[in-house]
Point group: C2
Chain length 227, copies 2
DNA sequence: TTGCATATTCAACGCTTGTTGAATATGCTG
DNA sequence: CAGCATATTCAACAAGCGTTGAATATGCAA
């Protein structure tokens, strides 16, 4: 009703753009590459989405609502099951990450490309501040609030720095660079988000506790001897 | 002797290229932008470095040896001071990360741009596998070997997955996207690598222990209930 | 000063880029 | 069928791209 149903060719454009932007970044992809990959004329992308930048935004927007709804729902589920002290750190991180794995595993094949695109944007000093805030800040602050409840003695700045560690681990996993495959001699496959999350969740949960739990950090700012 | 000393203008080209590549990526920068920023003619980059891709490689190469020497030296120092069981996980991660902060703080101002460029390349599915291996794998495997010694009960795949978590946290910190500044309302500044590392080191050390220490993980692969 | 290697600029090339306006195809409504 | 909105292609544009060969400047050796 409110939005006309998209033509199949415009969806193909989004799919191909998603794949290419995730691999080569915004400037590394031409509209002609996208059009060729989608089997359409180069002018069609302009017709449906306007300028190249608008197409980039459309790709980034497309799956964000569904993605963040599933994460928020997972968090709400844990909160409903938990007592008044709220869900555990593990549960919060599980709700933050597992829906991404599930989308990649059960959703259409474009999800893997989309998650790699999010990784590209999140790690970019140019695009990150310009595009992440609008679509992801509200959700992230919701999770940080939950972490505050689970770690009541945490200092404000420690919570955010720990979140950045979590975000970094997640970002590199979503980028699926294949580097861990090489380093490990094939033992690990970066396409296996499930295996990555099986370690990432206990890893980062222990990290949060070590930095944010009562008595974890002494003194004022630095804790290690400088020499 | 073996290499002629570089002209001051060729260094300026490298400096400007470093800054722009770190911010916009390989395809987001033109040789004309670099030349203009360096105050030279566009043909000079070709004269000194060959093709655009060769210039990109030259920028990436320039500081890598010095960087990794300082990290390896820090590791060797801890190893010399430690008993036969080797340095602690914290010390290993400290040696892996602190030299980057020190380079940015005490070295010339281009170091911050260089580290952001490393973050860009490491997080890129296109450039990562193509460029990281040659310059960084040897060093990384040395650190992983040290971690194996510090965590003798760790499974092989767990060590590598945990390393990826560390690498991801480090990568996002080096990218200095400014996102944590916004999220935290100004409490954290992503340009402050020291503050980031003060949390990253205990955070990731606890993560390694939680996943890789004896008795940390039970059963075969998954540890959490699926529902 | 002359000579020569290195460094730098100049001018231009062929090609690709994003974008546009007009032309055509498609599919639904009457 | 006619009419019309939407979808798609066609052809072309001006601008910018990386790269090159020739021309000029620079700095040191004889």
């Amino acid at each position: 009703m409110s939005k006309r149903s998209p033509s199949p060719k415009s969806e193909r454009i989004l799919d191909v753009a998603e794949e290419l932007f995730a691999l080569h970044g915004y400037d590394g992809v031409t509209l002609r590459q996208i059009a060729t990959g989608a089997g359409v004329d180069v002018a069609l992308a302009n017709y449906h989405f306007g300028k190249k930048l608008d197409l980039f935004r459309a790709v980034f927007d497309r799956r964000s609502v569904e993605l963040n709804q599933s994460r928020l729902q997972a968090l709400r589920q844990f909160q409903a099951e938990a007592g008044p002290q709220g869900p555990s750190v593990e549960q919060i991180i599980e709700a933050f990450t597992r829906p991404l794995e599930i989308a990649q595993r059960d959703g259409d094949s474009g999800w893997a490309n989309y998650l790699a695109l999010v990784a590209y944007i999140n790690n970019s000093p140019y695009w990150g501040p310009k595009m992440m805030t609008k679509l992801f800040d509200k959700l992230v602050l919701e999770f940080i609030e939950a972490l505050r409840t689970a770690l009541p003695d945490a200092r404000e700045e420690d919570i955010f720095w720990c979140y950045q560690n979590l975000s970094g681990s997640l970002t590199l996993a979503l980028a699926r660079t294949g580097r861990i495959d090489k380093l490990s001699g094939g033992t690990c496959r970066s396409s296996d988000l499930g295996a990555a999350f099986d370690r990432m969740i206990p890893f980062t949960a222990a990290g949060f506790r070590a930095v944010c739990q009562k008595g974890a950090r002494t003194g004022t700012t630095r804790k290690k001897r400088s020499r």
